[in-house]
């Protein structure tokens, strides 16, 4: 009973997060302007981090936590650098 509850809820959560990543990927590929694409990339990073945390709960391994932390760090740096590129036309002045 408990195992079935956990297995099915984790599977459903993974499906929902996969759908969310598909929506973000659509906005990343089809965004009318560059800032829409950057916003889609940011959402994609966050959803991938949530999916990794869900994998970590499923397997009981703390390895996925570190991957999620690295994705959070790199996502912030990527969004900030891309926003600065859109603002100025170059990243490092």
């Amino acid at each position: 009973m408990t195992a079935a509850l956990l297995t099915w809820s984790i599977l459903l959560a993974q499906c929902l997060l996969g759908l969310a990543m598909a929506c973000a990927t659509f906005r990343l590929l089809r965004g009318p302007r560059a800032q829409d694409r950057v916003l889609g990339l940011d959402t994609l990073y966050v959803n991938a981090m949530l999916l990794l945390l869900t994998f970590g709960i499923r397997t009981g391994s703390t390895l996925y936590f570190e991957a999620a932390l690295v994705i959070a760090l790199l996502g912030f740096v990527a969004t900030a650098a891309l926003a600065k590129f859109l603002m100025r036309g170059e990243v490092i002045e």
Binding site: M1, T2, A3, L5, L6, T7, S9, I10, L12, A13, Q14, L16, L17, L19, A20, M21, C23, A24, F26, R27, R33, A34, Q35, D36, V38, L39, G40, D42, T43, V46, N47, M49, L50, L53, T54, G56, I57, R58, T59, G60, S61, T62, F65, A68, L69, A72, L73, F76, T79, A80, L82, A83, K84, L86, M87
Partner: protein, 137 residues
């Protein structure tokens, strides 16, 4: 290594509910990113997933690992604090860059000061839009 199926029922039920709630909130935010009309409406949508969605999934993860390892596991707080601090900074940088680009090109998509889109939230960028007609190049 312990497995998630070994959780007792009193811990498995909140873990499952919090996981489903967090994933549903992230999906709602991404659907908003897909459905909303302009960029300045879309920039609000993913914050639903980055605040409550991440909070729910992190609490579920903390609960599951604390019960599995029979000791308090709190390092997920690190991700929570980091994402809570960095998401507004990144999205404000992005919105400011988009405002700069729209103003530079004279696009009509940006929020107007007296309109129902930009005037109600009182954002600090709103008074700066006043000068767009004079500074259009």
């Amino acid at each position: 290594m312990t497995h998630a199926v070994d959780l007792p029922f009193w811990a498995a039920l909140p873990v499952a509910l919090l996981l489903l709630l967090g994933a549903g909130l992230a999906l709602t935010g991404s659907l908003g990113l897909l459905r909303l009309g302009s960029f300045y409406e879309r920039v609000h949508a993913p914050t639903l997933g980055t605040t409550l969605g991440i909070g729910c999934v992190l609490i579920a993860s903390m609960l599951a690992f604390s019960v599995l390892q029979t000791r308090p596991v709190l390092h997920e707080v690190l991700i929570g604090v980091f994402v809570t601090i960095t998401t507004p900074v990144a999205l404000m940088l992005l919105a400011r860059a988009a405002l700069y680009r729209d103003r530079h090109e004279g696009s009509g998509e940006m929020p107007q000061p007296g309109g129902c889109r930009g005037g109600r939230d009182g954002s600090p960028e709103t008074p700066a839009v006043h000068g767009q007609d004079g500074s259009r190049r």
